[in-house]
Amino acid sequence: MALSGMRGLSVFISDVRNCQNKEQERLRVDKELGNVRTRFKNEKGLSPYEKKKYVWKMLYIYMLGYDVDFGHMEAVSLISAPKYPEKQVGYIVTACLLNENHDFLRLAINTVRNDIIGRNETFQCLALTLVGNIGGREFAESLAADVQKLLISSSCRPLVRKKAALCLLRLYRKNPDVVNVDGWADRMAQLLDERDLGVLTSSMSLLVALVSNNHEAYWSCLPKCVKTLERLARNQDIPQEYTYYGIPSPWLQVKTMRALQYFPTVEDPNTRRSLFEVLQRILMGTDVVKNVNKNNASHAVLFEALALVMHLDAEKEMMSQCVALLGKFIAVREPNIRYLGLENMTRMLMVTDVQDIIKRHQAQIITSLKDPDISIRRRALDLLYGMCDVSNAKDIVEELLQYLSSADFAMREELSLKAAILAEKFAPDLSWYVDVILQLIDKAGDFVSDDIWFRVVQFVTNNEDLQSYAAAKAREYLNKPAIHETMVKVSAYILGEYGHLLARRPGYSPKELFTIIHEKHPTVSTSTIPILLSSYAKILMHTQPPEPELQNQIWTIFNKYESCIDVEIQQRAAEYFALSRKGASLMDILAEMPKFPERQSALIRKAEDAEVDTAEQSAIKLRAQQQMSTALVVTDQRPPNGMPAQPSIGPLSLVKVPSETVDSNPGDQGLTHPNGVVYKEDPQPPSQDIIGDLLGTLSIEGPPGAVAQSPQSATYEAEGAPSAADAAALVPVGEESGSVQPIGNINERFYALCLKDSGVLYEDPNIQIGIKAEWRAHQGRLVLFLGNKNTASLGSVQALILPPTHLKMELSLVPETIPPRAQVQCPLEVMNLRPSRDVAVLDFSYKFGPTMVNVKLRLPAVLNKFLQPITVSPEEFFPQWRSLSGPPLKLQEVVRGVRPLPLPEMANLFNTYRLTVCPGLDPNPNNLVASTTFYSETTRAMLCLVRIETDPADRTQLRMTVASGDPTLTFELKEFIKEQLVSIPTAPQRPQGPAAPPPPVAPASQDPGALLAGLL
């Protein structure tokens, strides 16, 4: 056993190891923590050795997963020790115990800086390592320049410079706005000539980070990368110690090829030729060998080369070579290679023209779906999902279905969702789609989300040809002795609606249908009962002439549920009971459900993966974005002879919208149902539409008061459900087609987007405009997603940005036509020059058929987007507050007519606008103090402080004080906050029906204050 060299530490570690159980371990650790704490308290008596020992113990305890909430100070203070052993311990322990968000780190900045600029290279290394591992914003601000100097200094040894390169990489990656890399291209090019491979490797990593952000500036590095790659791949002039299992530094090779993937193309023909030569050599010269480490290394290089080839859009011949190679890989024994083969094949799908070659491997990929390794199965599923199109959908989906029964629980939900989407997207015929979904529910009911079965109901409702088929299928499933509850729901719903279509077949008489549905009744939960009741009511209605026996049976059930504790069930039972006594009028009231309006598939929305933070945007993603910036249009491939081109069929409505679009804001989803009731989209089962349907019709012809208002529609009314909707109730379906009206409230959508960064800006029956924004200091990048919802293309598309004077905005090219069901993404760059509340306007127009549609939409590039929350301590706050004395830097105003809000809610409101509320700063509990940083080109980062004094007796007035270092900013921010307090714009207050025309927006909108006031 090697000894740690510290007896106390070794003893402690052995003690912990010898603990029999977790409880003992905790006791031992607590004892030690107590010991260390007391030792630190009387610090005077500690020798450097002891200090080191205790700090190590702390780290060990921390590593085991216990909370260590003291001693950070001691660890940090060791950094400033004069001697190497203490300093080293200080640096290492600090780097482990703290992260970039710890305040304690500030204490160390000065010492760290002294070590970096000092002459002792060992200390330089320690300091650079710490900053590289946990450096945050403040480190970047005070150290970046010094680190840059070290990296290019000729007097520094490689061991310092390679650390400086990675340290700079970290600082740049975390805070690209702080690290000044203007004019660094030449420096980087020089660094790529570096002889020392350690420095070169680190510099290459740095280059990857730099080019991923801005490749334009680094063109001069491209030929050097190719040279480096050539030198490595030919194994020229590489010191023995830099080869790894005989391969010249695989890491450097991989990094170099990674960097190359961020350049859109290689233009110089000579460079391109040499690069392809090298790549060819790598592709062809790599064999699977016995030694696993050598294998890993050579294939790391090979897979990176593949990615680069894909990126460079090589000639078809080379591409097919790649696919062939991947085809070989997915069948080898080595699991890592199999995994990566599948993964890279999925990436390869993005390259045009090779899909057909990939399809040749379909059988092998399906085999991988049964691999013993879940990681590989996941890859296979992803690949199958990606490669599925009309030609192979049937095979693939059936394969997925078959696999479903044996799949791991962890994968079933994803699997069933993907199968449902593929079935919907590529169904060769609709009955097949219904088959698939029913099988899905049958096999994995627990993993089939509600969205999936809602979707199939929408489908069947919208396609008359399908209805009797679906009813027959549903009947078949009900025959099974044990079926999943979801199956009961779908079957009951479909049979209730369409069972009567089959009434002449044996076994489909109303009575028989009722019996078979009712058999399932004892097994279901309360969520299904309402659907069963509706279905009974429908069966009853379809029984002509009435059968007294059946009627009695069903009435007994209604009677029974009239006293049910569940309000939904009770209401339905009561209503249906009353209705079913109406005789002939029942026919109208319980008529078939009308078609569902075309809408975006909730499934697809769901399938979009949650985004994950990654260090660099991957080259692939970036490439996709570059394609967008030239506004490349991607169309969904459709079966030419696919489904009937009925405008209202759901399945084709595959408008891809950025994830998290509207679902977080249900208020936005109020849609006008053709027959007049506003109902909510997918989150509620269609069963509730039935109620809505009933009520809607009643309001026209049924005797009022016969039925209690359903709670659902009542809510909508209370929220100021568009009165226009009621009017629409009288308009026969199909008459609205003349004029194009927005869906949802444009204002509400705008206000919602002021608070969040992605969502729908505008929607009408033809187009949906989604928006996704990223904000970084005073800059922003918005992407407009223009999705054509129609089966015909939209022409004369024009988007014009009318920016206010304080914003610099640049919209990429918008194509003139948007093909059917395609989505176009147009990036929009925004730069904030100075504080202002003015709003930019998007003047958008398109032509659909003969109609020209023009809307003016406010863009959510508003003041609060350029705020960054910041917490200030009392020590920082008060001096600032005092130094900004009086107007124009500090403004005070008494605001009246404030919407009364409880204080915590007001605090929440502030936080959503990125004004950080700092509790405890103001001793008066009725007051609220907040801080934020504002970014613009003229003001740079500027701290803003806000104080609100409320009067507990009168919540409608308050006194507000705003302070910042810039008079305009102070004024604008004050006005901005005032606007937010006077109205809370997110709530759907204003009864502005979907039928209302878009609000008139003054193109230049010089006075948004007036504009807002006009809206109130």
Partner: protein, 161 residues
């Protein structure tokens, strides 16, 4: 980039953790718990990658010890696997056929060594020789400081005698 490095024993005991992305203590414990659940339960002949919360975890088992590194989805998995092995080889050379106990009792040295292999979650040095040379220089500096301290201590002792 590598978001964190995790060394866990077959019994689920943590032997080393190093975080290059900011995680709170709570998140760290959760990550360790989740990942040991996933990684330790994997059979022997499977691939070295698992997908986890939108990231990839590359791991490799050496005797009873699992070396795990978490990377972004778009990163090169095999490259990271090479880093793991490279790190192990350096440990091996430094300790002289390293075993788990070496790492338990010298976890602080493992940290020094890791800092020479990775900074900011990025690979730093591919020459084993360079790293070993550097480590021994550092060790000798510590030794020297110790000797100095004892000799000063002796002097003081002599003076006060």
């Amino acid at each position: 980039m590598i978001h964190f490095v995790l060394l866990i024993s077959r019994q689920g005991k943590v032997r080393l953790t190093k975080w290059y992305s900011p995680y709170s203590q709570k998140e760290r414990s959760k990550v360790i718990r989740e990942l040991s659940g996933i990684v330790l339960n994997r059979g022997p002949k499977l691939c070295n990658f698992v997908e986890w919360r939108g990231h990839r975890v590359v791991y490799r088992r050496y005797a009873g010890l699992y070396f795990c590194m978490c990377i972004d989805e778009a990163d090169n998995e095999l490259e990271v696997l090479d880093i793991i092995h490279h790190f192990v080889e350096i440990l091996d050379r430094y300790f002289g056929s390293v075993c788990e106990l070496d790492l338990i009792f010298n976890f602080h040295k493992a940290y020094y060594i890791l800092d020479e292999v990775l900074i900011a979650g990025e690979f730093q040095e591919s020459s084993k020789r360079t790293i070993i040379r550097l480590l021994s220089t550092h060790d000798s500096m510590v030794e020297m400081a110790k000797e100095e301290a004892t000799s000063i201590g002796n002097m003081i002792a002599q003076v006060t005698k």
